[in-house]
Structure formats: C-alpha cells, structure tokens
C-alpha cells in the first residue's frame, strides 16, 4: 500500500526504458513493496507486544498462584500472533471502507458496518446453497471460497453504491451532521430488513456457515514451533532427544546411560487423535507412556518432558489472511496504477478542480463506495467462514473496531487503515491472552485497555499513527 496516495505519483515517473526493467519495477511497486509493508507492520506490532508481555511477566512473574506468566506467554505466543493477524486483517479490510469514503467525502459512513454484515449474510447464503444443493463434491474448495467472497463483495459493493445514490448524494451540500444521522438510520434499516428477510426465508436468526461440515475446512493444521523435547534443563541442560510432532515415533531413547523402551511421544495417537502434552501429563497406566513410573536420577520422567508448542492453525484463518493480502494487493494496484484509481485520488484531493479536469466526480464517488462496500462485504464473508455463525447484528462490533482502526492509523490514509487494523487485532489478541492471568481483571476488560491505547495514541498523535493524508497543493 502506498502511504500517501498523491505522493506516490512521483514514484511512477522513473524511466522504464527497457520492458524488463518495467516489469521489475511493476513487481516491486505493486507486489513486493506492499507485502513488505504488511510484513513490517505485523512483525513490528508483534515484536513490540511480545516485549511488553514479557516485561509484564518480569514485573509479575506469578500473577496467580501456580501460574508462571512467562511460561504461559511462551506457550500462547504463536496462537496469539496468528489470531491477532487474522482478526487484524478483517479489521483492516473494513477500515479501508471507512477511510476511502472519508478520503473523498470527508464523511464517516456509519452504515459501512452493515456492508460487512450484508457480505457475511450473502456469503452464508452462497455457501449454504452450494452445500444444501449437494454441489460441494463437484466444486473445488478454492472455487467455492472465491465464488462466495466475490458474490459477497459484489452485492455489498452494489448496495453501497445504491445507498450512496439514494441517501448520501442528495445531502451532499447539507451540514456534516445530516449525512451522519442518515448513515445511522440506514444502518438500522439494513439490520432490521436483513433480519426480516432471513426470518421469512430461513426462519432462523443464527446463520451457520456449513464450514464445520466441510472436512478440509474444519480440520486444523498443526504447526509445531518447537517439537516435543524430552529432557531439557532438568538434567543439566542437556538436550537428549527431539521428536517431531508430525508423527515420527521413537521406540527407544536414551537419557544418560539408561535406555527406555516403548516410550512414545509425538506422533502416537490416543483414541484416534494425536497425543498432546495434556495426555502425557495425565496418562494412566495401560497407555503407552507412564511418566510417573519412569524416573531418571530420581526425577520423574514427567518432569523432564517439556511442553511442546504445537499450535493448531485453522484453515479458515489462513484463508482470511491469504484472501485479505490478495485483495489489498489488487486495491493497491487499482488505486495507484490505473486511470480510474487516479481519478479517485484526484477527487479526494480536490473535488472542484478534478471536475474541471474532466473527471466525472459523481462516478468516482460511486466507485469509491463500491470499493469500500466490496471490501467490507468480502471481509464479512471471510469473517463468517472463520467464525462459523453470523447474525444480522454481527456488523456492529467489528464495525466499531474497524472504525477505531481507521482512526488509529490515520483516517483517510489507506496504509493507515492496514496498520491500524493489524495493530488493533494484535493488541486485542495479546490482551485476551495475558489479562486472564490477572485476578480481578480478566478478558472482559480487554476493551478498556485496547481503547486506552487508542486514546493515548490520539492524545500524542491526534491524526493517527501515520497521520491524516495531507493534500498536496501544487
């Protein structure tokens, strides 16, 4: 994502004498640079939050009896980061809709959270119909997801354009508060009409995606960050044997001079599922491993088994991240690399002048609404797939969070929306993971801390982390 929409125009100028050079340039500008930016944001926020978490663990080593905060954070770290990224991308995609519309109209479209909701409901309808119709076998999974997301984007985008035409355009000259109130009104109209339609057609309020019935979508992918380590610091820091969590089993292993047989850790299955550290801790006699029965130099084997850091990554989370990255790349190219995108940037810089230059301002505004709505709708469908169930009220909270993300990053700034969304997602995820260990605090107070961060940032940087996009007056 190019940070300053207008400024990036200057980057376009460098000579592209040879076609090869041109393609290289194109790849750098529209693929490598934006991906690098996303990575930088993710790594930056994740590292910062990890450091803060460990600092917290250093200050409060044992917030609750029997809980070693540092150990807990280590165990949870991969999970917290993955969760934070996947929800962060959802926030970013919604935040784009707020920020794009703000860029061209200087107006907060509070009905945008309902584009997200409509997208999630359309996504549900598509998936449900394909599933109920029994076409699933014939459809490739990727095709199903692409169709679901694209239809959700199309419907939400079109709806956003219609709303703009019906409810906002007639009010364009009116005081700023008027379209704001209209937006809130539209939001309620959409929620309740969706509720009415779904009640009549499906007689159901909770709309459950069939993802949990699609095998490959509901089977999590175990990712091992450490493998399972037997031994460890308890016997002089000597690493004895490392066993992969991917299914490799070892019949024997040696600790010092002693050799143990029939000790299975890692790939062994217990009742048809992979063995986990909880099983090793609580195995009873008769199972393959009995850590209590085996001692090494007076220490029970169970104390020598280090916790394996295996995280189950949900396929839907991966889909969210991949789709979001792809969509953001396309958006970046569209805004910075096409004629229509230049039109949008021109309108956001100066409507009157852009009009004089022969740009159809109304069409550009409608296009902006379409893109914003489509991103909201796509985010809704992805969110629905990941969450499993959506309702007509599902838009409110992600909408508020995404709006926060847009402000956090700098409203009107496309890169800011991305940064804000990822930051907010990661902050939330870390707070959820860490607050739980502090008695009297707990996860229900996550929002207090998340929004305190927002207030603090805004006090010191009123226009967001990256700042509001500054119009370049030539």
């Amino acid at each position: 994502m190019s940070s300053q929409l207008a400024a990036s125009e200057t980057v376009n100028v460098p000579s592209s004498s040879s076609p090869l050079n041109g393609i290289g340039n194109w790849i750098v500008r529209y693929i490598l640079f934006p991906i690098g930016q996303m990575l930088a944001f993710i790594v930056g926020a994740a590292v910062l939050l990890t450091v803060i978490s460990y600092l917290l663990a250093f200050l409060f080593p044992e917030p609750r009896p029997g809980i070693n905060l540092a150990t807990q954070i280590t165990t949870q770290l991969p999970g917290m980061i993955i969760t934070g990224i996947s929800i962060g991308f959802v926030y970013s995609m919604i935040a784009l809709g707020y920020t794009l519309v703000y860029g061209v109209l200087k107006f907060i479209n509070f009905a945008h959270s309902e584009m997200f909701m409509v997208g999630s409901v359309i996504g549900f309808e598509v998936m449900r119909r394909v599933f109920d119709g029994g076409y699933l076998g014939a459809w490739s999974p990727v095709l199903l997801i692409v169709v679901t997301v694209l239809l959700a984007m199309l419907v939400s985008g079109t709806l956003a354009v219609v709303i703009e035409r019906v409810a906002y355009r007639p009010l364009r000259g009116a005081p700023r508060l008027v379209p704001l109130i209209t937006a809130i009104g539209i939001s309620y109209v959409l929620i309740d009409s969706t509720r009415a339609i779904m009640t009549v057609t499906r007689n159901d309020f909770n709309l459950t995606y069939p993802t949990n019935q699609i095998e490959w979508l509901s089977t999590p992918i175990p990712v091992s960050f450490q493998g399972i380590v037997i031994g460890g610091s308890n016997i002089g820091g000597q690493l004895i044997e490392q066993i992969d969590a991917d299914g490799t089993t070892y019949d024997t292993f040696a600790i010092g001079d002693e050799t143990f047989e029939n000790v299975y850790v890692g790939g062994l299955t217990l009742g048809g599922r992979p063995i986990r550290n909880s099983d090793v801790r609580n195995l009873t006699v008769g199972e393959a491993i009995t850590p209590e029965n085996v001692t090494v130099n007076g220490t029970a084997l169970r104390d020598l088994i280090e916790i394996a850091n295996v995280v189950n990554v949900r396929v839907t989370s991966i889909i969210v991240v991949i789709s979001a990255v792809l969509m953001l790349l396309v958006l970046n190219f569209f805004v910075n690399g096409t004629k229509l995108g230049r039109g949008i940037r021109a309108v956001s810089q100066d409507q009157a002048t852009a009009g004089l230059m022969g740009i159809n301002v109304n069409r550009m505004i409608a296009l902006t609404f379409f893109i914003g709505g489509a991103f909201g709708g796509g985010a809704g469908a992805l969110f629905g797939m990941n969450a499993g169930t959506v309702t007509p009220y599902v838009g409110f909270i992600p909408g508020v969070k995404a709006f926060t993300a847009a402000v956090l990053g700098g409203i009107g700034n496309v890169t800011g929306a991305l940064l804000g969304g990822l930051t907010l997602g990661l902050i939330e995820s870390f707070l959820n993971g860490v607050l739980v260990y502090f008695p009297a605090l707990g996860q229900r107070y996550t929002d207090i801390f998340a929004f305190s961060v927002l207030i603090l940032i805004l006090i010191f940087r009123p226009s967001g982390i990256l700042g509001e996009r500054v119009d370049e007056k030539v």
Partner: protein, 411 residues
C-alpha cells in the same frame, strides 16, 4: 399536506377508539406472555409462546363456559431487560391481563417482575432459574422449574464424581443467569476439590479465538460455560476447531436444538444440566407433543412443556376463583394468592406444590449428554443422571423438622 394530516388524524382516532374499546370489555380475561420472539434466542421464545397459545386454546374451555372470554397476548421481550420492563408497564396498564407467563431470561424476569409485583400481577415462570427470581419473597412471582444454586452444584458434582476431572476452566456470559450459574458451579467445584484454572466472563458473540488462547495453554480437562446456546454453540465449535480436546459442560442454557445446529459435530459429548427435561421424558406429555407438532409443524423446544404447565396452573387458579366467588371477575391479588396456593397440582411434568417463595417444593435436575450434531436429533439426547432436590426453603424446613425431636426431647 392536508390529506396526509387528515389520514394521520384518522389513524390516531381509530387507534384511540380501538384502545378504549378493548379496555372497556368486562368479561375478557387476558393471559400475557413475555419471551424473546426475535433475536438470537427466539427459537426457545417462540416455542414457549406457541405452548402458551396451545394451552389457552385447549384449557380455557371451563372458564369460557362461565361466560368469559380468555385471550392470549404474546409480548416480545427481546431477551433485553429494558424491553422486558417497558413491556411490563404496558401489561400492567391493561386491567384485563390477570397473569403473565415468562420470561426466558432471569436477567429480564428480575426487573420486569418488580413491575408486576407493584401491581399484584402474578407471574409464573417456565424457565427462570436464577435464585433471586423467587428469593425476593414476592407473593406474585412463581416458577415451575428449578434453581441455579442447585443446578450449578449438580453439574459440579457430576463433573467431579462421574466425569472424574481434576480441573476446570469456567466461562460465563456476564448475564444474571450465566454468571450466577457459573459462580454456583465454581463454589461447589472448589468445595469438591477441583482446580479452577480460570473464571472469565465474555460478551463476545462470534470470534472466540482470542479468548481461547489461554484456555489452550492451560489445557483444562473441562470447560464449563454458563451461557445461552446462541453463544456457547459457536464457542464450542471454535474451541474444537482450535484444537481443544477436553470436555464441555454447561447449564440449561445449552438446551436447544439450535445448539447442535451451531456447534455441529463439536456438540457431541457435551454435558449440560437442566431444570427442565425435554418433553419426551414425561409420559404425560405425549399428547402435548403430538398436538404441538400438529399445530406448529415442528417438535416443541425445551421449556415449551413447562410453559404449557405454567399456563395451566394460572387457568386452574382463575377457574377455582370464578367457581368460588360466583362468577365475579377476580382481582389480580386474588389470582396471585390462588396461584401461590397451588398444591399437588398434577400436570404434564409431574406434581407441583409451590413453597412460600414460589419455588416448586421439589425440583428435578438432570444431567444430559448431547449425542448428535444433527439438530433434528436433539430430543434423543440421553439423560445421564437425574437428581431430585428440595427447594432451599423446603430444605431448611426439613432440617428444622429433623432437629425438632432433638431440640425438644423433654416435652
């Protein structure tokens, strides 16, 4: 402009006349119900409404023979306290409403019943389990179901003794019902020696991934969730997808086929305690199930049969008053007293006698296991334990009776 004004005026007039006309009828007895008819919990709420409607249709005959019309007015409390209270205001202002059946949520029933009690209007609850509902000692508030301070411990005992788990992570939905139930569970779980790894409240309704991270790290053998199926079903689906492999348990808030629809196969093996067994458990309810299914095209949800019973109790109280006072419309206070005096009522769910607080003297508590992820198979869930417990008031009276001979050995 002028025509619009005239139309509006005419409409207002029609409404006003209509309101006056309904107020003016003398021989109309109305029964109101307050349940969530829209929103995430409407599956249960609508089924409760249907059951009350069915009860009024089937059981109002004897009252109508005495020259009265029995009408039924359903209200939608949207599972929201302030909506419940504003509906309650509307209900007490209609003098022909003599009783309210409801609510589904304790958090809604408690503030709403304040309004009923101020106006002597009797409420019979088919589903509210929070102790505070009856513990305020109001003469107008009764329930035909059990209590959370007995339901929570029933679950904890089952977890500690039958499931033999050693630790538990407790979640609740921050409502009067969910948090109350979770606290009662926790209290008993600690008393039984279970290690409580966490006690968390969450209002989150769709993405639980963040909340799940510490749970996955702590690896509890059991997660207890005091909440309603619309939230817990989604939670369980996501917890399984994230790799949680322990057990799940909850309260009667899990009890809806929608739970299976939301959680899918992740629902299988979940235990929940209930104060109200599915209608299929009661032999006497067979006819009710048939009638209900014929009338509404689907099987009754949990609490439907209890709603039917609540309505029956009210109608019987009104009938006995009409018979004893010669056909004069009873006052609300009289109806309240008559309902409270219900003794050895034989209904579809067994005998009910209200104690002085409005609790049934003996409550039945069940532990039920979900057997299928298919919502249509919800009624096949197996009852793994059935426990009969006296209401706290009865328990304390029984204690006194037992101690009596010892206290007065000389006399």
């Amino acid at each position: 402009m002028r025509t619009t004004r005239i139309i509006v005026l005419a409409l207002v007039l029609v409404l006003a006349v209509g309101a006056v006309a309904t107020q003016a009828q003398d021989n109309v007895i109305r029964i109101a119900s307050q349940t969530p008819l829209s929103g995430p919990q409407s599956v249960l709420g609508i089924s409760m409404r249907n059951a009350v409607e069915l009860a009024v249709e089937q059981l109002a005959g004897p009252i109508e023979e005495l020259g009265f019309t029995v009408e039924y007015v359903p209200f939608d409390d949207q599972a929201t306290p302030d909506v419940g209270v504003s509906n309650a205001q509307q209900i007490v202002n209609d003098a022909s409403i003599l009783a309210v059946i409801g609510h589904l949520n304790s958090g809604v029933a408690i503030p709403s019943s304040e309004v009923y009690n101020d106006n002597d209007l009797v409420m019979v609850s088919p589903a509210n389990t929070n102790p505070l509902v009856t513990d305020r000692g109001y003469p107008t508030v009764n329930r035909v179901c059990g209590r959370d301070d007995l339901q929570g411990p029933t679950g904890a005992t089952f977890a500690a003794e039958t499931l033999a788990v050693s630790n538990v992570y407790i979640l609740h939905d921050t409502t009067a019902y969910g948090q109350g139930l979770a606290e009662f569970f926790q209290e008993e779980a600690i008393a039984l020696g279970l290690e409580v790894l966490g006690f968390e409240g969450t209002e989150e309704a769709s993405t639980f991934e963040g909340i799940l991270q510490p749970i996955l790290a702590l690896e509890p053998e059991l997660i207890y969730f005091g909440g309603i199926y619309s939230q817990t079903g989604i939670f369980i689906a996501q917890a399984r997808a994230a790799g949680y492999e322990g057990l799940f348990m909850g309260g009667d808030g899990f009890d809806s086929s929608e739970f299976a629809a939301l959680a899918g196969d992740a629902a299988v093996g979940t235990y929940y305690t209930s104060v109200a067994a599915p209608a299929t458990v009661y032999p006497a309810a067979e006819q009710f199930i048939t009638d209900y299914t014929d009338a509404y095209g689907e099987a009754p949800q949990p609490f439907a049969v209890q709603s039917y019973v609540s309505t029956d109790i009210v109608l019987q109280a009104v009938l006995s008053l009409l018979e004893s006072n010669g056909g004069v419309l009873p006052t609300r206070a009289e109806v309240s007293a008559a309902v409270r005096a219900t003794e050895n009522y034989e209904g579809l769910t067994g005998a009910i006698t209200f104690d002085d607080n409005g609790d049934p003297e003996v409550g039945l508590y069940y532990v039920i296991e979900v057997v299928s992820g298919d919502p249509d198979a919800w009624s096949e869930n197996t009852i793994t334990a059935e426990i009969e417990l006296p209401s706290p008031l009865m328990a304390s009276m029984m204690m006194e009776e037992e101690m009596m001979p010892e206290a007065t050995p000389g006399s």
